[in-house]
């Protein structure tokens, strides 16, 4: 009997190990794959040669420099940033869904996205398209969550619902401010930039963008992966979590903080990309169930893969780049319905 139990446990951890290995391999494979996608005509061998000489720089370079630029300076950083953004949005969506005990919640629930949108619009109006956009977007994203949080404190007897309400109020205030910013923006120079930012894009990604956003995104992601099991317990509701011995206020604050950092870090470099933070966690639920011990890391990995693939479509479908927010909704929505139909909502 006891041996049986141990075997069972080992079997389970073996299955988990396979999932963990897939979690790492899939995004790396997606990044590798996206090096081969793009408008600049490069053959399979060209790309392999670029990669080989970047690993082993001693050999003489017998191809034009532009190859290097396209593969290593444009496609690679873009794919890496895509992975970080998609993973960050999806993991915080999963965390928020557990925390608010509501499967319809997404990463933008506390006003992160609308705060970031307003920050970006303001920065574009004041300073034009430069690095200030990033800092304003990030700052206002944090500000929006802080505001939601304080609104949630007004009426303490049902803090979770108040927090969600705070998020709704703050989101609509910042959406109104974004509309106002668009209304007063110079329609020839600034307005198009704002509009494009709002639709989300990874175009013109440089390594600089990765260096800026890697700090908040990795703090958020690592924090959420560390606290993942507590999210299970928190999803039992405040009273039960407390009775089970969880310091529910501290655990909630840490979860909200980490999810906010990951989301804010993502949206401030990529613009508004909807759907990822809602549907990716659900795809995860349908694949591996609801236990956040697996769901949280799986969401990150699936989000990363999804974003990379969407971005590949965005830059290869038609002559111009299609904004990411449009593609995530167009592809994510129907795909989600297909999944619901196929799994009959299992895991929901």
């Amino acid at each position: 009997m006891n041996e049986d139990k141990i075997n069972n446990f080992i079997l389970k951890s073996k299955k988990n190990n396979i999932i963990l290995i897939l979690l790492i391999i899939l995004p790396v494979a997606a990044i590798f794959y996206s090096l081969f996608i793009g408008r600049y005509p490069l053959s399979f061998m060209d790309i392999l040669r670029v990669l080989q000489s970047s690993i082993n720089p001693q050999g003489s370079q017998e191809y034009p420099d532009i190859f290097n630029t396209v593969v290593l300076q444009i496609r690679l950083p873009r794919a890496i940033l895509g992975a970080m953004v998609g993973g960050g949005l999806a993991i915080s969506g999963a965390a928020f869904q557990g925390l608010f005990r509501n499967p319809l919640v997404s990463s933008g629930i506390l006003g992160v996205s609308s705060g970031a949108s307003f920050g970006a619009a303001l920065a574009i109006i004041l300073y034009g398209q430069n690095y200030m956009v990033y800092f304003f977007a990030f700052g206002f994203a944090l500000l929006a969550v802080a505001m939601s949080f304080f609104i949630g404190q007004i009426y303490r007897s049902n803090p979770t619902i108040m927090l969600v309400l705070g998020g709704v109020v703050v989101s609509s205030i910042f959406s109104a401010l974004v509309s106002f910013a668009k209304f007063i923006a110079d329609p020839y120079e600034k307005l198009p930039s704002i509009t494009f930012w709002l639709m989300g894009s990874l175009a013109s990604t440089r390594y600089r963008d990765i260096f800026i956003s890697i700090i908040p995104i990795s703090i958020g992601v690592i924090g959420l992966i560390a606290i993942k099991w507590q999210i299970n317990v928190l999803s039992m509701g405040d009273k039960e979590a407390r009775a089970l011995g969880v310091n529910n206020i501290l655990a909630k604050v840490i979860t909200v903080l980490c999810a906010t950092l990951a989301t804010a870090g993502a949206v401030s470099v990529s613009g508004n990309i909807g759907w990822v933070g809602l549907i990716i966690p659900h795809i995860g639920r349908m694949l591996i169930g609801n236990d956040n011990r697996l769901l949280i890391p799986v969401s990150f990995s699936l989000g990363a893969v999804f974003m990379i693939l969407i971005d590949n479509l965005s830059r290869s479908l038609i002559g111009a780049e299609i904004p990411l927010g449009i593609l995530t909704a167009l592809i994510g929505g129907p795909f989600f319905i297909y999944l619901l139909k196929k799994t009959k909502g299992k895991g929901w």
Binding site: K5, F9, G98, R101, N102, P103, A226, I227, K228, W229, Q230, N232, V233, S235, M236, G237, K239, E240, A241, R242, A243, L244, G245, V246, N247, N248, L250, A251, I254, R285, G289, N290, D291, R293, G347, W348
Partner: protein, 269 residues
Amino acid sequence: MAFLKVKEACFGYNSQNILKDISFKMDKGQIFCLIGPNGSGKTTLLDCIMGILSLKSGKIFLQDQDISQLNPKKIAQKIAYVPQIHNKTFPYTVEEIVLMGRAAYNGMFNSPGYHDHQITHNAIKIVGIKHLKDRPYTELSGGEGQLVMIARALAQQASLMIMDEPTTHLDFQNSLIVLETIKRLVKERQLSVLLATHRLNHAFYFENNGLDTIAAMLNHQNFAVFGRPKEVLSTKNIGKVFNIDCQIIDYHLDQFYNQKYIIPVKTID
């Protein structure tokens, strides 16, 4: 040494008192039935004992330790809670739910390990729901769900189990299954159980089965009566607390065993 000691506990929101000067003691292996009309503060009292609500004045001691000095984790290692209505959200499996009883023994950034899984399996086995282990608990019936909650409380390895109306939504068979499970746990594991209930007959059930049972009727912020169910649950006391006319009948099941039963007749104006 009393296991749980409540001393002159007062609780209220703002100026409104809900509980006033409540004092009682509970021993190991005892069943304490908290009875009272709707809104009399039963759940509030339970929340105070679990440290979820803080008393206005008075003290609660758990094995001689002041509850207000203990953190949630320490309290959860001694007191487990079986909720009345469980709002089901995500379809976790039964095993995942029971495992949550181990939260009190894991740090915030830990996931439960092999030892925790072993205790979880054991708790599932003791309650007798091994066949449900991998089922999503959102698909379970009310009775099965209640047993899962009891298994989770067992996994918590606390010596006091607090139950808020554990049989409210259950049919006859499931009520009895829950009662028999409680009885077994108290007898075999010396567990103490503090339960709030509207089913007064359950107090008789435990007493008739030879368990150390106390019944307390909560009314107007304090215990109206307190003692053995036989004495406390009289037509006079029940009539006064619930404002009803009632009859108590003795039914002899066999020569050793007689079961008391309360029949509510009509309200008193």
